[in-house]
Symmetry: C2
Subunit: 231 residues, 2 copies
DNA sequence: GCCGGATTATTGTATAGACAATATACGCAT
DNA sequence: ATGCGTATATTGTCTATACAATAATCCGGC
């Protein structure tokens, strides 16, 4: 017993995805769909507005509704909380703090691109006693002054922030790099091992909160992005 | 002159993001919001339904509307068309085919996880004469028989597929790896250079169309995922 | 106390109609 | 043809109302 507006939406959606309606094609106007499905205009409007919100069609007053160009490029990347993910695999998670210092942003890793006074932490994420990720993080003291009182023993700074500080924008840059000797030592791997590098920076309504660089050992860690089947 | 339902939506959204309404909190019922904003129930409903569609709140009949748990960190990953991106930087793009063969999936790179008879291609993506990515791709011949007639001279197999075959689901796995000697040679880099590896598989309503593994040299290539500021 | 049915609060869906906003198309004057 | 104002088609928003679906709650019977 799916709702009518839902059936209309799916109907048109499948016509688009199946190629019956190609990008640029014009959809029937609301009045005609209204007749086709024998319902009121509000119902048709709800269905097509949903498609528009999903970016599948573009609507323009007086002109009509058109199938959008294949968007294709925007996939959903699931960025997990490390502690949570490790525990879900039945392993024991631990964070070990290697360094903690209050300093000016200029002193920390330049790839973090943060400014002002920060709390700088360096540590490793450990699963079942084995380090699997190296983390260097800077937290803005102007944005989050109370972090100075935080203790990072059971929780990593990331988990602490997740619990205490909401954010509104985030950006993650993903690249590959060879570990430096210091990082290799902390992770217990050979120098120059290939690592996946994530640099994530988060803001709260424009104010920079934190920047973090995480290094994951070689191919033992994989990020997955999906489009479509949201399983 | 923003629409009223939009103003209501943003109003409540900011109350949630600003922490005024914490996860688990109950929103006023539609009837009360209707009085608060002096509008009809349909308008309130449209605003809150949008929030529900975005996953910010959960709604339950009889129970009410509740602020959802902090979002599973789903960010939008922008996966670009290589040819397009290179040209946008003002460089000359070229694809060079190194190998082309029709064979059984078992013969190609096992990381692609595809089955049946496939067209297997290996090549490099070149910007301004310099190779920057290595690509190994398998295209299912049962799903796309016409690919056998395609010529990959101006376009890479990926661009050809993008133009000719629509898809409905895709999955991209991202990891870091050290290049093998053969790949290193094709890219003109030293053995064991750290590379970003993308393995993307796409389906059309359940049928596997293609799988591709792209290797990008070291830190000269970065993927970016964003949440919030959709700039 | 516990179970099962009735009550009821809340969201979900749909209708018919009205007016607003906007971009296209048309027609007219130059 | 060119430019300009007007008509018009199409979507955007909103209202007031109605009934359906769902699930928490209450209440009676045992």
């Amino acid at each position: 017993m799916t709702a009518l507006h839902e059936r209309i939406r799916r109907d048109i959606e499948s016509r688009i995805l199946g190629g019956e309606l190609a990008p640029g094609d014009r959809l029937p106007i609301e009045h005609d769909l209204m007749a086709e499905y024998g319902c009121s205009r509000m119902t048709v409007n709800k269905a097509i507005s949903a498609l528009a919100a999903a970016g599948l069609v573009n609507r323009k007053r007086k002109a009509g509704t058109f199938v959008a160009a294949p968007k294709a490029h925007a996939m959903v990347l699931d960025i997990p909380d490390l502690a949570h993910e490790v525990q879900e695999r039945g392993q024991v998670y631990r964070y070990r703090l290697l360094h903690r210092e209050i300093c000016n942003a200029g002193k920390v890793d330049s790839s973090l691109e943060i400014e002002g006074d920060v709390l700088w932490t360096v540590g490793v994420h450990i699963a079942d006693g084995k380090p699997f990720a190296h983390e260097s993080r800077a937290v803005s003291l102007t944005a989050v002054p109370e972090i100075d009182d935080a203790v990072f023993d059971p929780d990593s700074p990331g988990t602490w922030l997740l619990k205490h500080v909401p954010w509104t924008e985030a950006e993650t840059a993903i690249s590959a790099t060879a570990v430096s000797d210091r990082e290799a030592h902390a992770l217990g791997v050979a120098d120059n091992t290939a690592c996946l590098s994530l640099v994530r920076r988060t803001w709260r309504s424009g104010e920079h909160i934190t920047a973090v660089r995480q290094l994951f050992i070689g191919d033992s860690y994989t990020l997955v992005a999906r489009f479509g089947a949201s399983a």
